[in-house]
């Protein structure tokens, strides 16, 4: 399916934002779902690449999908070179997204993990559900959309590895601190939504277990098809495997096995 780039913006040195016209015939993407894109003819790279739904809005009735990505390899490099008007080969939306049905939502992201959480924040503003966001990253250039999240009414805390923005350290530190100060009742009301590197998600899994908070995580194993055909994107779950592209990419933290490789 060829969609059309509507706008392109470099957010920081390594991150690009694309807006894509969303055709009326397609199902409206849900927060936490993803699309599969490709940029080249030829067979290297071979696979499409998954990118989360970063944002979705309607401009005069017409849908606009936003993608936010880190420029790391051939596909994201090519994507970063697309100008408004260029075609984008995209399939989706795929997968199961976040369930946003808690009284209070906390977003926890590492680096590009903020991509799918942003759309959640937009929806929360609409429904008025209280929102906090914990953004982690390597350095200031890896902390994204902070201002917009604040604009959406989120209380935002930032941590970077090198201290170049927010506090120095891991994003799980302000998270733990905030959790430890919650009353048992508030804890029961809070739902964490986390997206980031596996190490961070594993740490979050440990933290929510200790503090007794509910959490959903969005995982990102390699995906060949994004649609349940290859059975390649498995993640370990108690007693078996789950397909990230079909049963996820968003899982209840308790539905995954965090001790597997």
């Amino acid at each position: 399916m060829l969609l059309k780039i509507r706008a392109a913006r470099r957010l920081t040195e390594d991150f690009q934002l694309l807006e894509v016209d969303w055709p009326a015939g397609l199902p409206e993407p849900l927060p936490g779902q993803f699309v599969m894109v490709r940029t080249r003819e030829g067979t290297d790279p071979l696979w499409r690449r998954p990118l989360g739904v970063h944002d979705f809005r309607r401009v005069r009735g017409a849908g606009v999908l936003s993608l936010l990505f880190q420029i790391v390899g051939p596909t994201t490099h090519d994507l970063a070179g697309l100008a408004p008007g260029a075609p984008l080969d995209l399939l989706g939306p795929h997968g199961r997204g976040f369930k946003i049905d808690a009284a209070e939502i906390w977003l926890v992201s590492g680096g590009r993990g903020v991509a799918p959480l942003f759309y959640v924040a937009r929806l929360l503003r609409r429904t008025g559900v209280p929102c906090r966001a914990f953004l982690g990253g390597r350095s200031a250039g890896h902390i994204l959309r902070e201002r917009d999240l604040v604009r959406f009414g989120c209380r935002v805390e930032v941590a970077t590895d090198d201290g170049s923005r927010g506090r120095r350290g891991l994003v799980t530190e302000p998270l733990e601190h905030a959790l430890s100060r919650l009353s048992a009742r508030r804890r029961a009301a809070v739902m964490l939504l986390a997206c980031g590197p596996h190490g961070m998600l594993k740490a979050v899994a440990g933290i929510v277990a200790v503090h007794g908070v509910a959490a959903q995580v969005s995982v990102d194993p390699l995906m060949a098809c994004g649609r349940g055909l290859c059975l390649g994107c498995t993640v370990a779950a108690p007693g078996g495997y789950r397909l990230a592209c079909q049963h996820g990419p968003v899982f209840n933290v308790r539905d995954l096995d965090w001790d597997a490789r």
Binding site: L46, L91, L231, G240
Partner: protein
């Protein structure tokens, strides 16, 4: 005049020579959003075993230049669930269904074939003796001509359905295992399954796949597949279904010209789930342009 695309593999008649390969199109139903699978020559479903199998631990896949490695480990829902949940829907759609299956030993193969025999809605069987991922069975049987003969003969005795045997390319001489399968009663040969390969994550110094070695598929292996189809075509008078790295109609034509009666699309389904429609149209356009009335006139037409 629209060219005639019908092909025949033993008693199996297909309206056209474009099939989807096992393990790359689920149970066929998953492909429906991208085009009506009743328009395919046939759909070859994910390899079934007697009991459901949960497959290998992750990571199971990795991308390689113009290819990919997989060690899915033949994860499948098992024979019963297929017959109960999938087959009725496939019948309802009017799709031609080829059931790919594998077993841990010769008895498994025979039992599977016997259970599938005569089931309404199954058009043929494809026996996978070439999967490199399962420790028992699979690779060992498929690499030894005598073992191939015994396994195929056992299955042959258990079913009246058209029987395809899918061969592994990981052998010194594909003609030997091909001949063994032919002599044991196969109606057709599917060439090829994946090549054994491996990749390393140099940053962690771990294998990219949990099972270390996996099966290489995609355009990278196409030259090997075309070569084997041609070699077997020269040596053995049995219909061949070509498979391995088909990305476009041009690639499918390579196989047909080299001697394949039909082709299977595999890895390409992951990237282009509707590519089979283009391939079919492309073959038709080629026949038209080159003035072939029947696709069968093109098959094996290589001038050498």
């Amino acid at each position: 005049m629209t060219p005639d695309l019908k092909v025949r593999i033993g008693a199996l008649e297909l309206p056209n020579p474009v099939l989807l390969a096992s393990g790359t199109c689920g149970y066929g139903l998953e492909m429906m959003p991208h085009g009506n699978i009743a328009g395919l020559g046939a759909v070859v479903v994910k390899g079934l075993s007697l009991l459901p199998s949960k497959g290998n631990p992750p990571p199971r896949i990795v991308e390689t230049p113009s290819g990919m490695l997989n060690s899915i480990g033949l994860e499948n829902i098992g024979l019963e669930a297929f017959l109960a949940d999938k087959l009725p829907k496939l019948r309802h759609l009017g799709a031609r269904v080829i059931v790919n299956f594998y077993g841990g030993c010769r008895d498994d193969y025979r039992e599977l074939a016997a259970r599938l025999d005569g089931v309404e809605g199954i058009h043929a069987l494809e026996m996978n003796i070439s999967c490199p991922n399962v420790e028992r069975g699979g690779v060992l049987i498929g690499q030894e001509p005598e073992e191939v003969h015994k396994a195929v003969a056992a299955v042959r005795g258990a079913t009246r359905l058209p029987l395809l045997v899918k061969l592994t390319p990981n052998v010194t001489d594909i003609r030997l295992t091909a001949r063994a399968a032919a002599e044991a009663g196969a109606d057709g040969l599917t060439l090829i399954n994946t090549l054994q390969g491996m990749a390393v994550d140099v940053e962690t110094r771990r294998p990219s796949l949990a099972r270390i070695v996996g099966g290489l598929s995609g355009p990278a292996i196409r030259p090997v597949a075309v070569r084997m189809v041609w070699q077997v075509r020269q040596a053995i008078a049995l219909p061949i279904i070509g498979c391995g790295g088909i990305w476009t109609a041009r690639d499918a034509l390579e196989f047909l010209i080299a001697g394949a009666t039909a082709v299977q699309l595999g890895t390409v389904n992951f990237t282009h789930p509707d590519r089979w429609i283009d391939v079919l149209a492309g073959i038709e356009a080629y026949l038209d342009r080159h003035k072939f009335e029947h696709v069968t006139d093109l098959i094996g037409s290589l001038e050498s």
